[in-house]
Symmetry: C2
Subunit: 188 residues, 2 copies
């Protein structure tokens, strides 16, 4: 395998595609698309999300200390694309996309009703990183569409159809390849 | 859509599957599997990776201030699984998996030769988050397999076949759904 050396760029793939909801200073909801989101700890469960300081939503998240990660499926791709390219200052994204809201359990920030999984997050700390600020946040509740759950109450990922982001492309998931730890079962 | 409220857990999906290389205190290389990795800023390009403090690799990354994110493809799934479940203290993971190393351009830490993309990272800060520490790191070089590049020198993601992690399952990617900003072209 021959490799070409390239200048630094955000080369990591595949990254998750999510819709983030937050609340403006007058309680008005907003939604935007984010893929620079990651899990950062297990106990307590925490995530981190990067947001540009000049974004409308940055002020909202900083002021309220909360946001919701909503995980869309492929059927919401057009809404995802709109919410990644349109600013709240210029258009009503809910009217443009048909996305609707439902109340959270712990936060004032609402959930996107059409997303099958919603993760309520409370900001713990903000870390400034030049172009972006990183909000490290505790997960305080998770909502899952009943239709995704198997008989034991676990998520059946074959029903989820999430969207991954590679470069500037949206990709669907393919096949389940295996479960973690499979090599142990093979070598027994 | 009826939703079930669940207790907090690390619910984000799909997340990337990567192999991280680092160097021990006597210069011996190690490799481990990580999916709690994310892009956190664009200028400069930075990533963050979460590592448990008691891990062998945590000491290594802390002492050297560097690591490499190696992005595997589906052909490396077994190696990925081994490197996620075996500690360096207990086995030679390179012998177990057949993974080989090649020199980086800027770091002492080597790259996994078989991974088509390698991202050289220099730690900028460590943030302690209870179960894990978060290493925020600058990307200082990227290596890409020539076979992935199109005629213009960009990555053709249809050739990459990366692995995503959902719950405790490894998944392949499916179809490219669209490119970012497609709704604008549709509505013109």
């Amino acid at each position: 395998m021959s490799k070409r050396l390239q200048k630094p760029f955000p080369a990591l793939y595949p990254v998750p595609v999510t819709l983030i909801t937050c609340l403006g200073s007058e309680g008005e909801p907003n939604v935007f698309t984010a893929s620079w989101v990651g899990t950062v700890s297990s106990s307590p469960p925490q995530v981190a999300i990067s947001v540009r300081p000049y974004r409308y939503s940055h002020v909202a998240i900083e002021q309220t200390g909360e946001f919701v990660i909503n995980i869309p499926d492929e059927s919401l791709l057009r809404a995802v694309d709109v919410c990644g390219h349109i600013s709240k200052a210029r258009a009503d994204k809910f009217a443009m996309t048909g996305l609707t809201l439902m109340p959270a359990s712990q936060l004032k920030t609402p959930l996107v009703a059409e997303c099958p999984v919603n993760i309520e997050c409370q900001v713990v700390q903000k870390i400034s990183l030049d172009s972006h600020d990183l909000f490290v946040s505790k997960i305080i509740a998770v909502h899952v569409d009943e239709a995704l759950l198997d008989e034991a109450g676990f998520i059946d990922y074959s029903r989820t159809r999430p969207i991954a982001y590679l470069g500037n492309e949206y990709w669907g998931l393919g096949q389940r390849l295996n479960t973690s730890g499979f090599f142990r079962r093979e070598t027994r």
